[in-house]
């Protein structure tokens, strides 16, 4: 009964028709992923194709200004420009070993779609990506990248025509195509075993960061920080540090515009328990249980739910979850560009913004490690719009 749960959160709330393929993925997760041959192949691809390990970089200028050491785990330097590739390579290799011929995915901003198309092309698999019709227009650049890699991009016109509807469409498609297709779920959410599977492939972030921090300073970081949408870069960064109670863990959600009536994306801060996309977790919903639309300037954080393990880490007090609004994220984006010559994704800018906003409460001399989950080139259109509106 409690298989697939993190405390009270998680589960497999899916149609019976999806239980056989999910149990097939669970079996593969348990029997193939831990084997030496799988891990050897995964590590080889992560090194030679993805470019791992990514550096842990100490920001010289900001550290001097802040009075504590600010470290960035540079996932923006991974192939395709974000941490998403860690997961798609892992699931792509697994899908091949399971005898599947197609990788299917949902995408919001398009980063996971690009990472899926990339992994599929390299592994000789077909790829199909569902994307909300509104996102297809907003993220035309990433749609083009996917198509160049031979991916079939299917616009989703139902519901709010964004990420949550793309997930609904992908789940529907999987029901009929389960024999040939692996659903390469993009974040550490959804029905069991996806939260565990995605964590297994993203936890390389925290493992590397811990080893790099120990090598550089001889001790663990005092605080690790990551942005949380579905929560895959965050669980990847946090997982290695969860067993070390002396390491403070901070997840940062998107508060949207911060104005009254804004559809924000902070279910851990203001949501309630409910079931969506196969999991029991914190959701933005009405009291009748209808899912509310979300909003953030960072497309990758724009989701009304969150991975169940984050709801659990919050419930047991092991991690705390704060929020940062659009303008704070934009300011942090500018700061990192000017002070350190790094153009961060707007998602990652939320994590950085929390550190900058809380500089007074962080003890001088601390080591603070932020997961810089992606690069911001994809956000240039949004940045130009914000500049035109005088928001920056």
């Amino acid at each position: 009964m409690h298989k697939g749960y993190f405390g009270d959160y998680g589960g497999m709330f899916v149609p019976e028709l999806l239980m056989p393929p999910l149990l097939e993925v669970e079996k593969a997760y348990e029997e193939i992923v831990p084997t030496k041959s799988f891990q050897d192949r995964l590590n080889q691809v992560l090194r030679d194709f993805v470019g791992r390990p990514t550096p842990l970089f100490r920001c010289p200028n900001l550290s001097a200004e802040l009075g504590f050491d600010l470290w960035l785990k540079r996932e923006d330097l991974a192939h395709t420009g974000a941490h998403k590739i860690n997961n798609t390579i892992g699931q792509g290799l697994l899908a091949k070993m399971m005898g599947k011929t197609t990788l299917m995915a949902e995408t919001g901003a398009g980063q996971h779609g690009v990472a899926t198309a990339t992994a599929a092309a390299m592994l000789g698999l077909k790829s199909v990506v569902f994307m909300g019709a509104i996102d297809v227009v907003r993220q035309a650049h990433n749609v083009h990248r996917m198509k160049l890699m031979g991916c079939e991009v299917i616009p989703v016109h139902s519901g709010t025509q964004t990420l949550k509807d793309a997930i609904n469409a992908a789940l529907r498609h999987w029901i009929s195509e389960q024999a040939s297709t692996h659903y390469c779920f993009g974040t550490a959410a959804g029905p069991h075993p996806f939260p565990l599977l995605v964590r297994a492939f993203q936890s390389v972030i925290g493992r590397e960061a811990k080893a790099q921090m120990l090598a550089a300073t001889g001790r663990l970081p005092d605080t690790v920080v990551a942005c949380v949408g579905g929560g895959s870069n965050a669980i990847g960064m946090f997982h290695e540090f969860v067993p070390h109670p002396e390491v403070e863990i901070v997840g940062v959600e998107a508060a949207g515009t911060g104005e009254p009536g804004c559809f924000h994306s902070a279910p851990l801060n203001v949501g309630t328990d409910g079931v969506l996309h196969g999991m029991l977790t914190k959701l933005l919903q009405t009291k009748e249980g209808q899912i509310l639309p979300s909003h953030s300037i960072a497309p990758g954080l724009d989701y009304p739910g969150v991975g169940p393990e984050h709801a659990h880490l919050q419930a047991v007090g092991r991690a705390r979850y704060e929020s940062v609004n659009d303008s704070q994220a934009l300011a942090a984006f500018s700061t990192l560009c000017r002070k350190e010559g790094i153009l961060p994704a707007l998602e990652s800018s939320h994590a950085l913004a929390w550190v900058l906003a809380n500089r007074e409460t962080i003890r001088p001399g601390s080591q603070v490690a932020v997961c810089l989950s992606g690069r911001g080139d994809k956000d240039m259109g949004i940045i130009a719009e914000a500049e035109a509106k005088g928001l920056m």
């Binding site: 899916v14 019976e16 609904n168 959701l283 249980g289 899912i291």
Partner: protein
């Protein structure tokens, strides 16, 4: 729990030498007034059980017709509460047994115990929850059982005999057999595999089987030679009602199936 009224309704149809008819209509469709008129029409034109759809913002098991109808109902303010209140306020009960079909979250937010109690009072005999497989179903099943209501499970073409046996231990009322590996919506043909799978399901489950998803015409049922005890139709009925014609007219085609 004694023999569910749902089982009794289907057995009675079988005794009369016909397939039981289970129309599906989303609560509040096509509008709040016509919905109750259509319910009356279904009730007096041969429905043995009527499934009322409870709208949800993210219906992952539904095809475009049911999804569109469901989202339209949400926009008109239809909720689980509205459906239960409407059923409660009727002066007389329907002859057909009533089942609510909807995704889990609205029921969960209502409160499982409170829902079971209000549903019993409203004359509801059971629930069908497409996103609640056996593993997650105990809390709702137990809350319903306390009030004498059945949780009706769904199985399909890819449910292996071993899983059917697990379902058999907890199933009540009838079992909903999904006839396609896909979402709701009409299909031209039923897969040939269905007959064999249906036979195994009947043997393992020990309850009446209702066939649903994809049903378009009574001929599809005849081809199965009586293997299905009941037929559920949703998308075809919704399309019919949407075009402005009464539900009772649609039912007439299926009588004697």
């Amino acid at each position: 729990m004694g023999l569910s009224i749902l089982t009794q309704k289907i057995e009675a149809a079988r005794a009369a030498g016909r397939t039981a008819l289970i129309p599906f209509l989303p609560g509040g469709y096509p509008d709040q007034t016509r919905f109750w008129e259509e319910m009356e029409g279904l009730d007096t034109s041969g429905a043995d059980i009527i499934e009322i759809g409870v709208p949800f913002s993210d219906p992952v098991a539904d095809g475009p017709v049911v999804e569109e109808a469901s989202l339209a109902c949400l926009e008109h303010g239809i909720s689980l509460q509205w459906i239960l209140d409407g059923l409660k306020s009727r002066p007389t009960r329907f002859q057909a047994a009533i089942v609510l079909m909807g995704y889990y979250n609205p029921f969960l937010q209502y409160g499982l115990e409170a829902f079971a109690s209000d549903a019993a009072e409203a004359g509801v005999s059971g629930c069908i929850i497409p996103d609640l497989p056996l593993e997650e179903s105990a809390p709702l099943r137990e809350a319903l059982a306390k009030k004498g209501l059945a949780l009706v499970y769904l199985v399909g073409l890819n449910t292996e005999p071993e899983r059917l046996d697990l379902y058999a231990r907890h199933a009540a009322g009838f079992v909903y057999f999904v006839s396609v590996l896909g979402t709701t919506g009409v299909r031209e043909l039923l897969p040939e595999e269905i007959a064999g799978r249906l036979k195994v399901a009947k043997e393992r489950l020990g309850l009446p089987i209702a066939l649903g998803f994809g049903l378009k015409s009574p001929d599809q049922l005849k081809a199965l030679g009586g293997l299905a005890d009941a037929a559920v139709f949703g998308s075809a009925l919704i399309s019919h009602v949407k075009s402005g014609r009464p539900a009772a007219e649609f039912m007439a085609r299926w009588q004697g199936a």
